[in-house]
Each structure stands twice: as structure tokens, then as C-alpha cells.
């Protein structure tokens, strides 16, 4: 096809369109959905009985803050990356990577300190599936938002979107799961974030087409 014919064809398809809102605005809209899904997850799966005491524990709050930060930063970074030229520096992406790395290191070192390896982490698949279930709707909504935009680096964009959605699930599961074993948290709570980010980066071109 000649470029002139392509231009004629594209121009014939020029219909009025509404420009997308800024990535930060859409990130806030997505946060609303994510919070609603996390709350729904806590209602369906029931919060742990000692949650009132836990919210005063720095360790618990720290992990929740990391999960929340990963969810928000990853969602915002993916929405920014889906707008050509909007990402002025890779700082936000780097923040997601650093926070996720920190999350992994903290849990892995706690597993080592506990000294029993993964022997007590038997129930992790239940939490893994629950994290997936809670993160499913935020993931679908975020992918829908990204498909309306134009991700030029689909691998990164999809990996960040998956991390955001699964971190939402991981945040909710902290208030649901009664187990305090770090190996369980590593496999069942953080595991979906890492695995689905990897899956997202592989499936990116199909998902964000």
C-alpha cells in the first residue's frame, strides 16, 4: 500500500474522539475500583479475627504499606507508559522494581531467620488463588484502560499492570489470611505478584493488542 493511500484511508476514518484524561486522573479512577475489589474480597473471604490488634504492629503496617505502594505506583507507571512520550524518566518504574525487590528480600530473609524453610507453608495455594481472584477485576479494568491508550512498550506496561492488580490482592489478603508464616506470605501473597508480572510481560502483545 502506498503511503498516500494509507493517509486517505486513515483520514476517511477520522471521527470525533474524546482525548484520554491524564494518567494520574485515570490512576485515581483505577484506585477506586481496586479499593472496592479489595474491600469486596475482605467481605467475601472474611478478615482475620486479630486484625484490630495487627493494625498497630509496625511489621504488618510496613508490609501493607509496601503492597499499597506497589499497587499504586505500578498502576500509575503502566498508565503513564501507555501514553507516548509521557514517561519523562523511568523513576516510577524503578520505584516499583525496588519496592517489589524490597518486599521479596524482607520475606525471604524472614524465611531464612525462621529456620524451617517452606515446611509450614502448606496452605499457600489457597491464598495464591484468593489473591488472583481479588486482583482479577482490577486487572481487567486496568487492561481495558491500557488498551484504550497506546502502550509502545507492551512488555513493561503489562507487567506493571499485572503487578498493580496482584498487589491489590496481596494487600487485601494480609487482612484476610490468619497465617503469619513468612514462607506462606512469600509463596501465597507475594508469589502472585511476581508470577503474574512475569506472565503479563510474556502475554503483553496479545493482551494489549
Amino acid at each position: 500500500m502506498k503511503t498516500e493511500d494509507l493517509i486517505r484511508d486513515l483520514a476517511s476514518r477520522a471521527v470525533p474522539i474524546e482525548p484520554l484524561a491524564a494518567p494520574a486522573v485515570r490512576a485515581f479512577a483505577w484506585s477506586g475500583v481496586a479499593i472496592a475489589c479489595a474491600a469486596a474480597g475482605m467481605l467475601v473471604f472474611k478478615t482475620r479475627s486479630d486484625v484490630g490488634a495487627l493494625v498497630h504492629e509496625p511489621g504488618f503496617l510496613g508490609m501493607a504499606a509496601v503492597a499499597l505502594s506497589v499497587a499504586w505506583a505500578a498502576a500509575t507507571a503502566s498508565l503513564v507508559m501507555a501514553v507516548p512520550g509521557a514517561e519523562r524518566s523511568p523513576l516510577l518504574r524503578a520505584t516499583v522494581v525496588v519496592l517489589t525487590g524490597l518486599w521479596t528480600v524482607v520475606l525471604a530473609s524472614a524465611v531464612v531467620r525462621a529456620g524451617h524453610g517452606f515446611a509450614l507453608a502448606a496452605d499457600w495455594p489457597i491464598c495464591f488463588i484468593r489473591v488472583l481472584a481479588i486482583g482479577l477485576v482490577p486487572a481487567i479494568v486496568l487492561v481495558g484502560m491500557l488498551r484504550r491508550a497506546a502502550p509502545l512498550r507492551p512488555g513493561w506496561t503489562a507487567a506493571l499492570a499485572a503487578a498493580a492488580a496482584m498487589a491489590t490482592g496481596a494487600l487485601a489478603i494480609q487482612f484476610i489470611c490468619p497465617l503469619n508464616d513468612p514462607a506462606h506470605a512469600l509463596l501465597g501473597h507475594l508469589g502472585p505478584v511476581l508470577v503474574m508480572s512475569w506472565v503479563g510481560s510474556i502475554a503483553a502483545r496479545r493482551v494489549l493488542k
Binding site: 503511503t3 494509507l6 486513515l10 476517511s12 477520522a14 491524564a22 507516548p84 497506546a150 509502545l152
Partner: protein
């Protein structure tokens, strides 16, 4: 892109977002020329300058709702252009590393071994191998390779999707290679 051109492009894309086809065509013409120039400056007079321009235009069209009129046009456009340039460059490198054009293929390129190998596969053996394939695979391979039908034609005739035809053909070729005692590529 000069600042004058950028201003013009900003006006045109805003009108394009409102559905004005004339302004949009003018914008795309301007962007195609800019894309060709940008690619020529970086790659020289390569034969795929038009591919880069066209890929860029397609992405601009798909991404036009992401352009925020309050932001400068050039960073938005050049992000698309450089991304498409890299994609086309990668594609061309991949193709050139795997394929040899017939225009540069010397007649004497066949080694004695490959000639021997070619003559080893006589028509009777090929026909026998074809006959050994399942009916549908045989039909698809024969249609594509012996009767020069297109994938689309075969898919319409057999009531299959184009992907299903491609998959069946691929399996057929593999089975043929096996039957003819050739190594998998």
C-alpha cells in the same frame, strides 16, 4: 520538526480529534514526511523508509486519543516514531538474517551436497509421502505447494479459519520432512 511545524501539527491533530478529515489528512502527510526524513537521517537511504512512515502513521492513528492538547506535540510524536523505527529495524534485521533474496542468490549457490540431496528426493517418494499424510493435511499441503493456492482460498474452500490452515500446513510439512528422512530445521 521545526517549531512552526509543531504548532501546525498541534492545530491539525486537535482538529483531527474533532473529526475533521481534511486537517487529519494534512497532519498525516506532514508526519509521513517528518518520519521519512527522521529515518533517513539515522539510517540513510534504506528501502524501508516508507515502512517506517506507514507504521508511524498507523500508530499515530491508533494513539490519537492519547494526545493531550495541553502538552507539546513533538515528544508525543517522536516517542511513537522512534519506537516504530526500532520495530521496523528489528524486523528488517530479522528478515535479512534469515532470508536471502532471489536477486542476490547466485546460480552456483547450490553445493554438490545439496544438489545430491535434491536429486535424492524423487517425485515418487514425495508423492508416496504425501499419500501417507492424513486426508485434510494432504489436501492443504497439495493446495498450497502444488497448486499454488493462497491460505485464504484454501481456508474458504475447506471452511476452516486461516490460522487452522496454517497450523495444519505446518504439521503437514513436518510430517513430510519426517517421512522423507530430512532433519527438522
Amino acid at each position: 520538526m521545526t517549531s512552526q511545524q509543531e504548532q501546525r501539527a498541534t492545530t491539525l491533530i486537535m482538529r483531527g480529534q474533532q473529526g475533521d478529515p481534511v486537517a487529519y489528512a494534512e497532519l498525516l502527510t506532514l508526519l509521513a514526511a517528518t518520519a521519512r526524513q527522521y529515518a533517513r537521517n539515522r539510517l540513510g537511504d534504506v528501502p524501508w523508509l516508507d515502512d517506517i512512515a506507514q507504521e508511524t502513521l498507523l500508530t499515530v492513528h491508533a494513539a490519537r486519543r492519547t494526545y493531550d492538547p495541553k502538552r507539546p506535540f513533538a515528544p508525543w510524536f517522536y516517542a511513537i516514531l522512534s519506537s516504530r523505527l526500532i520495530d521496523v529495524l528489528r524486523k528488517e534485521r530479522r528478515i535479512s538474517s534469515r532470508e536471502l533474496g532471489t536477486d542476490v542468490l547466485p546460480e552456483a549457490a547450490m553445493s554438490a551436497n545439496s544438489i545430491q540431496e535434491e536429486s535424492d528426493i524423487d517425485q515418487g517418494r514425495v508423492q508416496a509421502a504425501l499419500d501417507a499424510l492424513p486426508v485434510r493435511q494432504r489436501e492443504i499441503v497439495s493446495a498450497l505447494k502444488l497448486r499454488d493456492e493462497s491460505v485464504k482460498e484454501v481456508s474458504q474452500r475447506l471452511g476452516m479459519s486461516e490460522s487452522a490452515v496454517k497450523v495444519a500446513a505446518h504439521r503437514g510439512y513436518r510430517a513430510l520432512r519426517r517421512l522423507l528422512g530430512k532433519r527438522e530445521p
